[in-house]
Amino acid sequence: MESDKQEPTSDNTRASLEQRLVKLRPRLLAFARLQLADPVQAEDMVQEALVGALESLSGFKGQAKFETWVFGILRHKLVDTIRRRGRDVVAEYDANELADIDDLFNPRAHWAVGAQPEVWRQPENSCERDHFWEAFDLCVFHLPRSSAQVFAMRELMGLETREICDSLAISEQNCWVILHRTRLKLRACLETGWFSKEEVS
């Protein structure tokens, strides 16, 4: 991916933005397929989001936030569909596809050696940099599927736990347990993959 920062204005041309849209498609599709049971519906929704983005490209200004903006278009469509049709459309929840955090704690339930949180070298605003959300999504998609789904509904789509458990037909208690484990796994993954690195590209 090309740099988001300090790009010459020529790179902000329609052609280059269209190129970036094409490159973004697989990540959008992975995101939609995580949420929707029907892969065809996921494809259609991504297609609609891409067309929607193309249509409003000329009005697009915030270059550095391009990907976030396109993701936002897809997110609105997903949230809307899930709110309207809930369990009829969401990918089925599977209790066997959840993150396990046994490796993070010792038998006394304290941090296991090697799993203790480290000091993060990269500051919070390093998430504004080019590859951060790619690294982030990679960590999310490495999680067991149902964990990734619940996490994405909560933190990437901004649904409340009440809405999530309704659409997945699980208890809110269960939802909290899943989010707890998933956040810890993701924290560890991002620590290794981004925040404790000396330099990030």
Partner: protein
């Protein structure tokens, strides 16, 4: 009253999704006073929650942007 780290992390995560009860909140606070790793974990989880919320805001439709000059 002492919490193990694992339970403390449960409360840290829960706090993002619903308000803690007074007892939960006090137990967590007490644990954080004593445990540096959990303090680190807590601030990192909060930060991850914050940046994902910001990502959603940044992805809001363009109409909210100031008009082009």
């Amino acid at each position: 009253m002492t919490l193990a780290c694992k339970r403390a992390t449960e409360l840290m995560s829960l706090r993002i999704d619903r308000p803690l009860t007074a007892l939960e909140s006090a137990s967590l606070r007490m644990h954080l006073l004593m445990c540096g790793y959990c303090r680190r974990c807590d601030s990192q989880l909060e930060m991850l929650h914050r940046i994902t919320a910001r990502r959603r805001e940044d992805g809001e439709p363009q109409e909210t942007d100031p008009p082009e000059t």
